[in-house]
């Protein structure tokens, strides 16, 4: 009887404990779920914030690098006769004859300043956006900022591309300028060589030509003769023939440069116009306030995105053209250097060997040198 009572009491206590436990679970269960959800949201918030800051920093690093490159100007010789293309005057106007464009091509300071100013505004607004991301404490607030970072990517990236392409075009102006200078140097050397040949003709000097081997030896008594490496009788003819080829090559590179610059100026003007169409703010103001424009995606949704993609394709086309021009410049350098070495006593072999651009060029025999 006593055992039955004890058994009954234990059973009741167990049932009571079970009921109490159930009540506790019913009371604290949702709280535990909420806590788990909250922990997941905190983790998500933290992860998203870190990723967003990392992406902003990545963009800032790239954009700042472009601005730094734009701050260094290239040196163009003979500044009095430069051809400049500004943003307001997209057309190229220059005299062109059989030797190519007359005058050196230069990127107008006004165009470069405008491009640089856009890039700086983008950096400023990205820094402002970064500050907002750092300060936000809610997932909703962060998500809103993330949307802005994503929406404005194409626009800010295009600003960076515009800066990078402008710098690439400007660098090519320095290449073309120097090709023309070296070309002029060699032209004057060949003229001097002709003077030497005239001295020989006038009996002021003697030239011995070994016809069987095609070699020529000139003594140093004629004016200017001791500067040259007369290794064949038809050296002047060969040199002039090569100079004609280089003139064509230089003219082609210059034409590519001029057309790239003209297209760049047009694109900068188009981009500026597109920015002016974003809201009621001024074009630069728009870039500075990108972080505050809530509906940028909507604003670009109509013709905007299409226009941006079109601009992107055009910048891509310019970049490809610059690649071609750079390869041609490397070939021209090899040819001009070899010709310099060919006509000068002692040659320029030491200099040619040190030219890094030529390291991947291999055979310069294509120039017949």
């Amino acid at each position: 009887m006593r055992m039955t009572f004890a058994f009954m009491m234990n059973k009741k206590i167990s049932a009571l404990a079970f009921i109490l436990l159930s009540l506790l679970m019913a009371a604290y269960g949702p709280m535990a779920v909420t806590n788990a959800q909250s922990a997941a949201e905190v983790a998500k918030f933290k992860e998203l914030k870190e990723k967003t800051l990392k992406e902003i920093d990545r963009r800032l690093e790239r954009y700042k690098k472009t601005i730094e490159s734009l701050e260094i100007s290239v040196k163009i010789s003979n500044a009095e006769s430069t051809i400049q293309i500004s943003t307001d005057q997209a057309e190229l106007s220059a005299v062109k004859d059989k030797e190519g464009f007359q005058g050196r091509i230069k990127v107008a300071d006004s165009l470069k300043d405008k491009v640089k100013s856009y890039a700086q505004k983008v950096v400023e607004q990205l820094q402002s956006l970064k500050q907002q991301v750092l300060e936000t404490e809610t997932l909703e607030g962060l998500q809103e900022l993330v949307n802005k970072v994503e929406d404005q990517y194409l626009l800010t990236q295009l600003t960076d591309i515009q800066g990078a392409v402008t710098k690439a075009v400007e660098s090519l102006t320095a290449v073309v300028d120097k090709i023309e200078t070296v070309f002029g140097n060699l032209k004057s050397q060949i003229a001097k060589m002709k003077e030497c040949a005239r001295g020989i003709k006038n009996g002021e000097s003697q030239m011995n030509i070994d016809v069987s081997k095609g070699n020529a030896n000139v003594n140093a008594s004629a004016p200017g003769c001791n500067d040259f490496n007369w290794n064949s009788a038809d050296l002047i003819a060969r040199a002039e023939s090569q100079m004609s080829n280089f003139a064509t090559m230089a003219s082609t590179i210059k034409t590519i440069l001029a057309s790239s610059l003209a297209l760049l100026a047009t694109l900068v003007t188009s981009f500026s116009g597109l920015l002016g169409g974003l809201g009621s703010l001024g074009s630069l103001g728009n870039l500075a306030n990108l972080a505050n424009i809530a509906n940028l995606g909507d604003l670009l949704g109509g013709g905007g995105l299409g226009n941006l993609s079109g601009l992107m394709s055009s910048f891509s086309a310019i970049t490809s053209q610059l690649g071609i021009a750079n390869n041609m410049s490397i070939n021209a350098l090899g040819g001009l250097g070899s010709l310099g070495g060919l006509i000068n006593v002692g040659g320029l072999s030491g200099v040619l060997g040190s030219l890094t651009s030529l390291s991947g060029l291999g055979n310069l025999g294509g120039f017949g040198l």
Binding site: L48, K51, T52, K54, E55, R58, R62, T66, S69, V74, V146, E150, Y153, Q157, D160, I161, A164, V165, K167, A168, S171, L172, A174, V175, D177, K178, T181, V182, G184, N185, K187, S188, Q189, A191, K192, K194, G224, E240, M312, S316, I318, T319, L322, G323, N326, S329, I330, L333, L336, G340, N344, G346, L348, V351, L352, S354, L355, T356, S357, L358
Partner: protein, 93 residues
């Protein structure tokens, strides 16, 4: 008689005009002839221009090389900027 005199005067005037034209033509031919004689070619005319020294040529070649290197690097930077999309961090939007 007066008619014959006036005819004579007319012939004299005509002769003077023809003579003047002939003299003018000869002068013109001389002037054009001088201009048309052998002119130094554009290359030859460079003799009067300062001839670049070997050092100058050498330095300009080195500078051209450096300019090309910079130009190639900047062109590659522009290409990289065009391909930046591939380096974007996915923010899950």
């Amino acid at each position: 008689m007066d008619r014959r005199e006036s005819k004579k005067t007319l012939w004299i005037i005509a002769g003077v005009i023809v003579g003047a034209i002939a003299i003018f033509g000869v002068l013109l031919a001389i002037i054009l002839g001088v201009i048309g004689t052998d002119q130094p070619s554009s290359t030859e005319s460079n003799i009067d221009q300062p001839v670049a020294s070997k050092e100058e040529l050498s330095n300009n070649l080195v500078e051209l090389d450096q300019n090309i290197q910079r130009s190639v690097n900047h062109q590659k930077a522009a290409e990289a900027a065009l391909k930046d999309d591939s380096k974007r961090i996915d923010l899950g939007n």
